[in-house]
Chain length 120, copies 2
Amino acid sequence: MDIEEAVSVFSALSQRTRLEVLRLLLQAGPEGMGAGEIAGALGVRQNTMSTNLNILQRSALIRSERFGRSIRYYADMAGLRGLLSFLMEDCCGGERELCAPLLDVLVCDCLEKADDQSSL
Amino acid sequence: MDIEEAVSVFSALSQRTRLEVLRLLLQAGPEGMGAGEIAGALGVRQNTMSTNLNILQRSALIRSERFGRSIRYYADMAGLRGLLSFLMEDCCGGERELCAPLLDVLVCDCLEKADDQSSL
DNA sequence: TCCATAATTCTAGATTACTAGATATTTCGA
DNA sequence: TCGAAATATCTAGTAATCTAGAATTATGGA
């Protein structure tokens, strides 16, 4: 990922509806959600949501899959990973202590509430 | 952090100069960098940089400290942590496997190159 | 107190982004 | 093949953001 792409991805996240969509899809997990379902859940008009879903997808923050005439969307963990990776590239300035607190976020909020067989 | 604040923080990151500044300061580590030094390093006019530093600081992505007549800026790890925490809130949908890859980013890019006494 | 340095604030013209109405496309079922 | 459902695209008026010139504030030294 280069700087232009990263800026574009952060732009995708800097709008209320789109940020809500990503969080909703992260919470939805592997099941994903239908496009109309997402629009309904967030109280946004269908065409506006379609535009915003497209922007998120172009940024590789979400993925989609068609089922019949509806389309399901999912959080794209690989894309999110790429973004965080770019941001934290060469971080810390060699000082582990500066960077470590960021790990706690994911460990606490995400993994601790899952089962405890920490394979890391 | 609420959604409005998170949007505002992502907006702060969705501009090339500001994203470059945050990465630069993450790489600089605890030493930080002077305001003029940052502007010089990125080839941005001093008043434009000042505006952008202010936006990053309002978003709690960087901190500042005055030394005589110059001002040093530092990455604000607590602010960054808050943002990631908000984004990943209630993630995974109970499926640990969906979320775990995000940890690798920080573990690989940031901590593995530090000493190996993994206290997690 | 006066000057130079370092950084910030004010401002406006130019660019970019957002929303929603209207229309188009895709798919399924009858 | 026709109609309905689900979603996407086009468009334009409105709103927000970006940059840099000019002026301002804060600090330290002579």
